[in-house]
């Protein structure tokens, strides 16, 4: 019942707000939203404490028949991979409520209802073990996000929100067909657990059907064009949720479905996917460098970072996959924080153009500290979270026997590019002369804003210094995913590489 409670608490809150919005008043409903999301986080913490790190089995399972005539069940459970994404979601949402406290001008109740429904849908995606249930949550997520961007977004919000919905729906249309096809291979059942045990036919096509849906969501180059639009037009909170959690639904889908279910597809398409992700890494970084708009810059940096995640996943070894999953969390934290920070100065100045700023550090010293830490985390400075993830991914990339080292080498250069675009941006915004008179009256962060940022910074440092609690809990699940995704591919791939190569041997040793 624990998982159901975590998933549906926000929905309950949304219903509560919808029913009582006239009685509560504007601040009342914000408090309700905050309390509900905090409560959800508190309940989800018991998932962390109760989690058994010694097994790859799904935990906190719930199963009950839902639509009998179609073989659909309400089946939930989490392993060491979904655990972290669930926690990331429940952690970020209350911060989002707090961040949106003063910035919503119209329809605050609608905003909070959308946000809470979105949380329910995202949590559902990470916990569902039935393909139908997964798809339902995957689609439910669309509507509140659509409203968040479309109603509370910027000037070109309608274009951005329609683009977002159509891209996602086009991707999920094929996934739906794939799901239906799997259903008949699984003795008329949508249960993921029984599906894991089967060797499926038409794996390559099925892999594509699922992968395209996830690649759009990630977004992997060349499916990324919806992302900058959506980010720029979305309200701050929308961007945080989008970058922090929604994009992870794509990479999560790859780990949960594409890799373990279709090893043949993985073997067949790894070269293509790795090439695309390396292009995305470099392309995202280069485009980010020339952006005049802060939000667009962060959006393109996301394309680059998520390319990294996908590269790590398709390294198909322990370090790569683990690094990829850790990097999902890292990206959620640091990019989420970046969007929050951009939102904070946007609220004060109503502009996001880098050229409008300069010398802010003199006027806003507290802001400058937070901004610096988060920027460095995003670059991947040792001691902060980004470093651990990127390092593991690159390590995995170098050891990988599924693609050549050249890819990892090219990807590694983007660490430098990241430093260039992030530090350059930081320099132009924070340092230099405070010559714009509008900037001279800026106020520093309020207590509320500090409260929003501190928890994120704590985790940024924690993961950077001591990632073990995070890594140890995903260990077994990662091994399991690897075992499944290499079951047939490994046989094909391993035979030609008997040539004595020290790195591959080492990689194998570490894998074992």
């Amino acid at each position: 019942m624990l998982l159901s409670a975590v998933i549906f608490l926000p929905l309950l809150g949304a219903i509560l707000i919808a029913l009582a919005r006239h009685i509560l008043g504007e601040s009342g409903l914000k408090w309700i939203a905050l309390i509900i999301t905090l409560l959800t986080f508190a309940v989800s913490l018991s998932l962390y404490t109760g989690f058994n790190a010694d097994t790859h089995e799904m935990q906190f399972k719930e199963e009950r028949t839902w639509i009998e005539g179609l073989g659909i069940s309400y089946h939930l459970g989490i392993d060491g991979i979904s655990l972290w994404l669930v926690l990331l979601t429940t952690f970020l949402t209350p911060l989002c409520v707090l961040a949106a406290w003063n910035s919503i001008e119209k329809g605050a109740s609608g905003f909070m209802i959308s946000l809470l429904m979105l949380e329910t849908a995202m949590l559902g995606v990470f916990c569902a073990l039935d393909l139908f249930l997964f798809f339902v949550f995957w689609e439910v997520m669309l509507i509140p996000m659509y409203l968040l961007i479309g109603i509370w977004g910027g000037r070109r919000r309608i274009y951005a929100t329609i683009k977002f919905v159509l891209y996602t729906m086009a991707g999920s249309a094929l996934m739906l067909v794939g799901i239906l096809y799997l259903y008949f291979q699984n003795d008329n059942s949508f249960d993921l657990m029984t599906l894991y045990g089967r060797t499926l036919s038409h794996q390559n096509l099925l892999f594509l059907a699922f992968f395209i849906a996830f690649a759009i969501k990630v977004p992997l180059f060349p499916f990324h064009t919806w992302l900058p639009d959506a980010h720029v037009e979305a309200p701050t909170v929308g961007s945080v949720i989008l970058a922090g959690v929604l994009l992870k639904m794509g990479t999560y889908g790859i780990v949960r479905f594409c890799m373990p279910l279709f090893p043949e597809g993985v073997a067949a398409y790894t070269p293509l996917i790795v090439t695309l992700s390396v292009i995305g890494i470099i392309y995202g970084a280069l485009v980010a460098m020339v952006q005049p708009d802060l939000k667009k810059l962060v959006a393109y940096s996301s394309v680059s970072h998520l390319g990294f995640v996908v590269l790590g996943l398709f390294a198909l070894n322990h370090h790569g996959v683990q690094g990829g999953i850790l990097q999902m969390i890292n990206h959620g934290l640091s990019t989420g924080a970046l969007f929050l920070l951009v939102g904070m100065i946007y609220e004060r100045r109503h502009t996001r153009m880098i050229a409008d700023f300069g010398g802010l550090s003199k006027q806003m010293p507290i802001f400058a500290v937070f901004f610096m830490i988060v920027t460095l985390s995003s670059i991947g400075l040792p001691g902060l979270n980004g470093f651990v993830g990127e390092f593991m991914i690159l390590l995995g990339g170098f050891m990988s026997d599924s693609f050549s080292k050249v890819y990892a080498i090219i990807a590694a250069t983007s660490v430098i590019l990241a430093a260039v675009y992030m530090l350059w941006m930081f320099q132009r915004v924070m340092f230099g002369k405070l010559d714009n008179p509008k900037n001279q009256t800026l106020t520093d962060l309020s207590l509320r804003e500090i409260v929003v940022l501190v928890p994120i910074v704590v985790f940024i440092v924690w993961i950077g210094v001591y990632p073990k609690p995070f890594l140890s809990r995903m260990e077994k699940s990662v091994d399991q995913v690897l075992k499944q995704s290499r079951s047939t591919a490994a046989v094909k791939a391993a035979t030609p590489t008997i040539v004595l190569d020290t790195t591959t041997r080492e990689a194998k040793k570490i894998d074992e």
Binding site: W66, I67, E68, G69, L70, K106, G107, F132, F135, V136, E139, V140, L142, I143, Y146, L147, G150, I151, R157, I158, T161, I162, V165, L166, M169, A170, S172, A173, L174, L176, V177, L180, Y181, Y183, F184
Partner: protein, 476 residues
């Protein structure tokens, strides 16, 4: 020969209601809405009886095998009666402003409903034809019900002309099949046709039937009448035409093709598959270009006929039950959407342009909520009924190996989201262009819309209650 009247209870109740309404209509002194209430009560009793017969499994044939009452026909009775009740509910306030007596409006609706029920239970091509004509003739009159409105008269005329053509095709098809099989009884045709018979009489008869049905349920390329008729006809009648009669057309379509003509499946399945793909694609693409919401809903209902046709193209047991389930869902959500259009009425008529809906989300939240819910369901977003319906249809088509058709359907779903969401965009995300004065909410319309909304959400979350009956009610 004794007649088992019990089998025909729902039909008899409708006939009885018809007579009562006709009598009460003669008195000028009674309230105008009284006849409407009588109609609702009559339909509700018939609905109750149908559900009861469905549950107890009362089945049988009557009138020398001309009428076949089985779970299939009873399930369709439920669809028809639910649609009729909803339509009468949304009609009462809508017609309230005209001064004419309304008895004949409800009488014609009752007659059309009776025709639909005959179509679903007809075990004989002639009976199906009679039902079809009973239904169509009533609808022609209803489409032109607003005599003073040019558009309404035009709609009635257009519908009559094209409908008469379709009936002609249909009748000719029956004649040719009679020539090929020597009988017009559905089960007898089935046994008379050997597997893969390629008698030219049969084949041309089959094609003519496809054309006839294609007109009646508005499949591309026989769909041109639909947008004009929907636009011109009274909105409540547009809702009616788009729901029950379409379901009735499919009821007969499914039964004739999957029972009588099952042995020449290989011949018609290609045709039906192509028609389904065309209907979905053209319906959705053209709907994108519409500025008038009634025309948009007309094209959307064309596209939905395409989805149902996918169920027929699947040509298996699940295909039938998924089409049945989908038709139930479709009727509820489509009538709901038209009801929401009626709800958005201003002082100087209805607001029919999508741009008129700008800003309604904050000005008329309840109306916008109903409209959004119905459109999301039509677009097939989970967790609404429309999603489950589409999912089940696609599932049965995958089961029979029609993967390509399902891919086309799934892509169409994404396309359709664009124009459905455009209305939502207008309501919530745009500022109103002109100040429009809206009528206060009429009570009964709200009742009808609430019922439809509950139906859409409930079937979406707990579909089993409606899905299981559909699964056990097929004739195969």
């Amino acid at each position: 020969m004794t007649i088992n009247w019990q089998l025909l209870m729902p039909e008899l109740i409708i006939i009885l209601t018809f007579i009562i309404v006709a009598i009460f209509d003669l008195f000028n002194s009674i309230q105008k809405t009284f006849t409407a209430w009588l109609t609702i009560v009559g339909c509700a009793i018939a609905l109750y009886v149908s559900v009861d017969m469905l549950q107890t499994g009362t089945e049988g044939t009557e009138f020398s095998n001309m009428i076949q009452v089985d779970k299939y026909s009873l399930f369709f009775n439920v669809i028809f009666l639910v649609s009729t009740i909803l339509v009468v509910l949304i009609s009462m306030n809508y017609l309230g402003r005209t001064d004419r007596r309304q008895g004949e409006y409800y009488l014609l609706i009752l007659l059309a409903t009776l025709g639909m029920m005959l179509m679903a239970s007809g075990n004989e091509l002639i009976v199906v034809f009679l039902g079809l004509e009973l239904m169509s003739l009533s609808l022609y009159v209803l489409a032109g019900y607003f005599q003073r409105s040019m558009a309404s008269s035009e709609a009635g005329m257009k519908y009559l002309l094209l409908g008469a053509f379709a009936s002609g095709f249909f009748l000719y098809g029956i004649a040719l099949i009679y020539g090929g099989a020597g009988t017009t009884s559905i089960p007898k045709i089935a046994s008379a046709i050997t597997v893969n018979a390629t008698s030219p009489l049969l084949l041309s008869g089959m094609f003519l039937l496809v054309v006839g049905f294609g007109f009646k349920v508005a499949l591309v390329p026989f769909h041109q009448w639909a947008p004009d008729v929907y636009e011109g006809a009274p909105t409540s009648i547009a809702a009616f035409i788009s729901a029950g009669p379409k379901a009735a057309g499919f009821a007969a379509f499914l039964r004739i093709f999957l029972e009588a003509l099952q042995n020449i499946q290989s011949e018609w399945i290609v045709v039906v598959t192509i028609l389904a793909a065309l209907t979905m694609t053209v319906g959705n693409l053209v709907a994108i270009a519409q500025r008038n919401i009634k025309r948009m809903l007309a094209y959307s209902s064309i596209a939905h006929a395409g989805y149902v046709l996918v169920g027929l193209a699947a040509a298996n047991k699940d295909g039938i039950s998924s089409a049945m389930f989908y038709l139930l869902v479709y009727c509820i959500m489509n009538i709901g959407a038209f009801g929401a259009v009626i709800l958005a009425r201003t002082e100087d008529g209805e607001s029919l342009m999508i741009s008129d809906y700008a800003g309604l989300g904050f000005k008329k939240p309840l109306l916008a909520l109903f409209m959004t819910l119905m459109l999301l369901s039509l677009a097939g977003f989970s967790p609404t009924a429309g999603f489950v319906g589409k999912f089940y249809i696609f599932r049965s088509a995958v089961e029979s190996g029609q993967i390509w058709l399902v891919i086309i359907g799934a892509i169409n779903t994404a396309i359709s989201a664009f124009y459905y969401l455009r209305v939502v965009v207008a309501m919530y995300m745009r500022e109103p262009e002109a100040e429009l004065d809206f009528h206060p909410y009429p009570g009964l319309l709200i009742v009808a819309l609430t019922l439809a909304a509950i139906g859409v959400v409930l079937i979406g979350i707990l579909p089993s209650y409606f899905l299981s009956p559909a699964q056990i009610s097929t004739f195969l």
